[in-house]
Amino acid sequence: MLQYFFRRILHGIPVLLTVATLTFIIMHLVPGGPFDTEKKLPPEIVANIEAKYHLDRPLFVQYLLYMKQVVQGDLGPSYKYLGRDVSDILKETFPVSLVLGLFALLVVLGVGIPSGVFSAYWQNSALDRSLVFLATLGISIPSFVLGTLLIWSLSHQLHLFPPALWESPRHAILPALALGLPFAGYIARLTRATVLDVLSSDYIRTARAKGLGEGAVLFKHALKNSIYPIVSVVGPLTAGLVTGSFVIEFIFSTPGMGRFFITAVTNRDYPLIMGVTLVYALLIVLANIVVDMMYAWLDPRVKL
């Protein structure tokens, strides 16, 4: 198990390296630099600034210098937020995004799995049909549309929740719903399909034949075997939540990493762009590893 974990981490390194290199290249190809201002600065000052951040060196040298720094765990200073390191900014904003993501994951699984199970159990009933329809609506609604709808209805009209910012757990509810519900649609449909599949299998008939209650059949026997396909999509799901949080943070003015990325790109704040991208990529790689290990732990048939 441990050996598998380290092997996967090793496989993740080329991925991260590619992400870093690609981002570095694209970023520097983008016209405009971080210190372009409305007013023309005297050339000596520009030269000074560029020398300080090694921007006067050839791109390849800049790349090597940056990578050397990153390997040592230093993400460099931000170009726009003077006197602050990228790691400081990430330390402040990452927890916000993480909490938002975890709340959303809770919404996804808490809404998606039960509705999928009910749907499958009462297959073709009115409940099933409305749940399936709702799930399709969920899949089709962009999270920014859902987010604005929630803000307008629950916040502007009914004043139930704050429309923006991040000060109390109540502030997290609307963004988590807006981020999570569309993905809950996917999980609901997946759960329905797998539970249906399992319910028609022989061992379920045996369980019923020996007089087991329906609750035990459904939750102890059926759900247990339906959980594997669901677990296997939690990896890509996490990736979706991670990158989806961008828009949500934009709409709700949440002080998370996503918002910083957008401003960093417009400011050409190179180290901040790199820092945020790397954290996102690392998160996706890690999520996939954790999910694969969970899969193996749950399903005795899978050998690592």
Binding site: I26, S140, I141, P142, F144, I151, T243, I262, V265, Y280
Partner: protein, 269 residues
């Protein structure tokens, strides 16, 4: 073979209607998309302006119709282009197999692991905020999904005895790929097309909504929604109608895709 569900029929009709409106926008739209009338700005929907007017007094209904041109063409053309690349790549990878397949799939894995929205944002900023930037950025991240699907399918099909028979008869690789394998991929490709177009539309509208996508004077539905977002508290109709257009279009493609899958690809799903 099942019949078309009412959802699929309705969705198909709706999409045809939207596509026609987009193509014939100058004839369908009651006003031009840029005529301003500051005496009638921010009007609520009424018989003259079905969806009301924006802060410059432009007719929102006309702007939504013109927006369909941008949103649909970005969605359809990026998907077609990405599918073309993905299909060729996946087919070659699956057909050749061995070490070539291994290397080609490692590349796919890496692209797959990229945080896609971040990459799209960077590339659109690099290429300029126009339809072209979005087109290329979306293509770059979305061809891999198709490549994986097609590769898996080709791996399966190439083991069929009829393909083996063609090989035994001395057919060239080119002929086997194009005449024997490709026709079998058609169903999968049509279904994938229907499911991938809404993904592209979603990505474009999301980008435009956060202000990094298509920029004025051309407006996609996402751009219009972004305009309305600023006034959501007092003039919610400005964000409601463009959002509804995006939602209904994505929903229709999903229903249509399900209908197509039931008919063309009974094994899938």
């Amino acid at each position: 073979m099942s019949r078309w569900s009412w959802q699929s029929r309705l969705s198909g009709s709706f999409l045809i209607l939207v596509a026609l409106a987009a193509v014939f926008a100058p004839w369908v739209a009651p006003y031009s998309f840029e005529t301003q009338n500051t005496f009638n700005a921010l009007a609520l929907p009424d018989p003259h302006h079905w969806m009301g007017t924006d802060r410059l007094g432009r007719d929102l209904f006309s702007r939504v119709i013109y927006g369909a041109r941008v949103s649909l063409s970005v969605g359809v053309f990026t998907t077609l282009f990405a599918m073309w690349i993905g299909t060729v790549y996946g087919a070659v990878s699956g057909y050749v197999g061995g070490r070539v397949d291994n290397v080609m799939m490692r590349i796919v894995d890496v692209v797959f692991a990229l945080p896609d929205l971040l990459m799209i944002i960077l590339i659109t900023v690099l290429l300029g905020r126009g339809a072209w930037g979005i087109f290329l950025a979306l293509t770059l991240v979305s061809w891999v999904t198709v490549a994986r699907l097609v590769r898996g399918e080709v791996l399966r099909i190439k083991e069929y005895t009829y393909v083996e028979a063609a090989r035994a008869l001395g057919a060239s690789h080119r002929r086997i790929l194009l005449r024997e394998i490709a026709p079998n991929l058609l169903g999968l490709l049509i279904v994938t097309l229907s499911f991938r177009i809404p993904v592209a539309i979603l990505a474009e509208s999301t980008l435009s909504f956060i202000g990094l996508g298509i920029s004025p004077p051309f407006s996609s539905w996402g751009t219009l929604a972004n305009d309305g977002w600023k006034a959501i508290k007092f003039y919610p109709h400005l964000i409601f109608f463009p959002s509804l257009a995006i939602f209904l279009t994505i929903l229709s493609f999903n229903f249509l895709g399900e209908g197509l899958r039931d008919r063309l690809d009974p094994k899938g799903g």
